[in-house]
Symmetry: C2
Subunit: 340 residues, 2 copies
């Protein structure tokens, strides 16, 4: 098969690789119908995370199950299935509490690589969720979004306790931030403030349910949120960037007793203890337990109640994966979908 | 009247001061029946917080209301009343959400000073909670505990979501940590691990409901909690110290999806963003909104269902306030009660 391999900063190649094989009896092999480039893939791409040796890339995937190991019971060949960036058993105590991305048997799909024609999915029964039937092609981008960016935005909104009557602010206008707007809207938030200075992203935020757009950032952004909330701050703030500035912007935009849901992978972030103490905010986040939400998200997409696939504004054949990275790196695209 | 004034490191004097007067029509004057020395009073006492000029001390208080301003409606002279370290209106949106210590009109009682014979209490209707009748003398230490250490330990346990079926660990064996044990027990926690290496404090923790004692600290303490929880960590951890080591010990002792309630005033603490992200814990804390819990705590004490006054293991007349500080500084006393 062929797949994407990163060799170093801004050097992603599409090349011949070994076909994946069943290793554990709980594995499945999936033939990818769609995959994509994640904001977090840009960290190694930009050289911010070091690349020690050529490594497979990608961790978002939907496709047709091709083969299953002898211990796989519920997932069957021929099904259309969606997984997320951590394989998980979905049975341990941590999974049952809804934290499948901290499963005691978790495996990082990014180490396997899904920007490829085929992928091995460990713990297939726990990891994969199948659709009721084969979906029509126009639903595939939305199911692919559920694999990571939708599930991550959803977790951000749940962690921030977005709910009816609340004002929710979203820091970050990447695919995750935009889908956090969609999630907050679905969860019934009264007012949703998208923080974005990019016109096409503002438009998509409004389509997904944002009621206000704030273009200011940092302290000025915090001041605008304060103005919009009678000086108190938002009830819920979703952080979907992962920098020091965005984290502090999120915390400072939240009222005492409010909730910050942070889902941007934190890089070089230090949270000042004393300010956290006096802020009185709730802080929760981390790698989204997408698996917790997948059954509900699959239903919503299958029934066409949400259309998260709109975040893909660039579609390329998988052999042009390098152009997908370039377009996202240069912010020419919100998110690039790749067809194997 | 006479009261305690801090002049500099380890220099607390008991001296003649002006009698407090009603300034705002919402004020009350309270004649103190008991006050005490708080762990947080030791920060300026030890010179860790700079003392710029002689300042009144103390923020824990119970007593008899002596006089009320013209706008005070529910609190009446002659009542026995308890307040906490922030005066609060108890009517603003933040108070109604249960965060009275971030009230938009809050005033810090520590700036007024309650290690004295009399004290002015701002926003008396919002701040003070009166007992049903004058209490018998043996209940006074428990009501005094409710003013801060009990309310703070209680908030820690609530912020950590201590509840039936859960394993709760408590970092810190000062009065707040010990009363967090009592709170976790009252909230129905299945197992309560007190982290303490001081025998008399271990004893009190066991009396308050601890089921296990862990003497190790830091990484070794974390390893012991892991051993006691099938490798997963505690569901709930209450942090009642406020140092870098204790915060990291609390966070690392908590399982993914678990809750850290932090109530030790954070000094020189930096929380590493990436570790927070991957820890998957919920973090919440800050200056306890004691007022939220006071009506319930007053009931529990009035009905003799809890006995938090046991944390006072030293009782002195108020004119020996300096000895109260010394005894707590040298850890000869858990907590010093002062009778004016």
């Amino acid at each position: 098969m062929r797949g994407a391999v990163v060799y170093g900063p801004r050097d992603v190649r599409f090349e011949q690789c070994d076909d994946p094989k069943i290793i554990e009896p709980t594995d499945a092999i999936i033939r990818l119908l769609a995959t994509c480039v994640c904001g977090s893939d840009l960290w190694p791409y930009r050289g911010i995370e070091a690349v020690q040796e050529p490594a497979p890339m990608g961790h978002e995937y939907v496709g047709i199950v091709e083969e299953v190991g002898s211990a796989v019971g519920t997932i069957r060949p021929g099904q259309f299935a969606i997984g997320s960036f951590f394989a998980s058993d979905n049975t341990c105590e941590i999974c049952r509490a809804g934290y499948q991305s901290s499963c005691i048997h978790r495996e990082l799909m990014g180490n396997i690589g899904t920007q490829a024609e085929l992928a091995r999915v460990p713990l297939a029964d726990g990891t994969l969720v199948a659709t009721p039937d084969l979906p029509s092609a126009e639903l595939i981008p939305s199911f692919l979004a559920a694999s990571d960016v939708l599930g991550t935005g959803w977790f951000g909104a749940v962690a921030a306790e977005a709910s009816p009557g609340k004002t929710v602010a979203v820091v970050g206008d990447g695919a995750v931030g935009l889908l956090a707007v969609l999630a907050a809207n679905h969860l019934g938030a009264e007012r949703i403030i998208a923080m974005s200075r990019h016109e096409p992203r503002q438009q998509l935020a409004l389509e997904f349910g944002a009621t206000d757009i704030v273009e200011e950032r940092g302290d000025e952004g915090v001041a605008r949120i304060e103005e919009l909330t009678s000086g108190l701050g938002a009830h819920s703030v979703i952080e979907a960037v992962g920098t020091q500035e965005s984290m502090m912007q999120a915390i400072r935009s939240t009222r005492p007793g409010g909730h910050v849901g942070f889902v941007g992978v934190a890089h070089d972030v230090e949270l000042p203890g004393e300010e956290m103490f006096f802020s009185h905010v709730h802080l929760h986040g981390g790698p989204a337990p997408v698996r917790r939400f997948l059954p509900e998200l699959v239903d919503l997409i299958w029934n066409r109640e949400i259309d998260p696939g709109k975040v893909f504004d660039l579609t390329l054949p998988l052999d042009q994966v390098a152009e997908g990275y370039r377009a996202m790196d240069e912010r020419r695209a919100i998110k690039a979908l790749l067809w194997p």
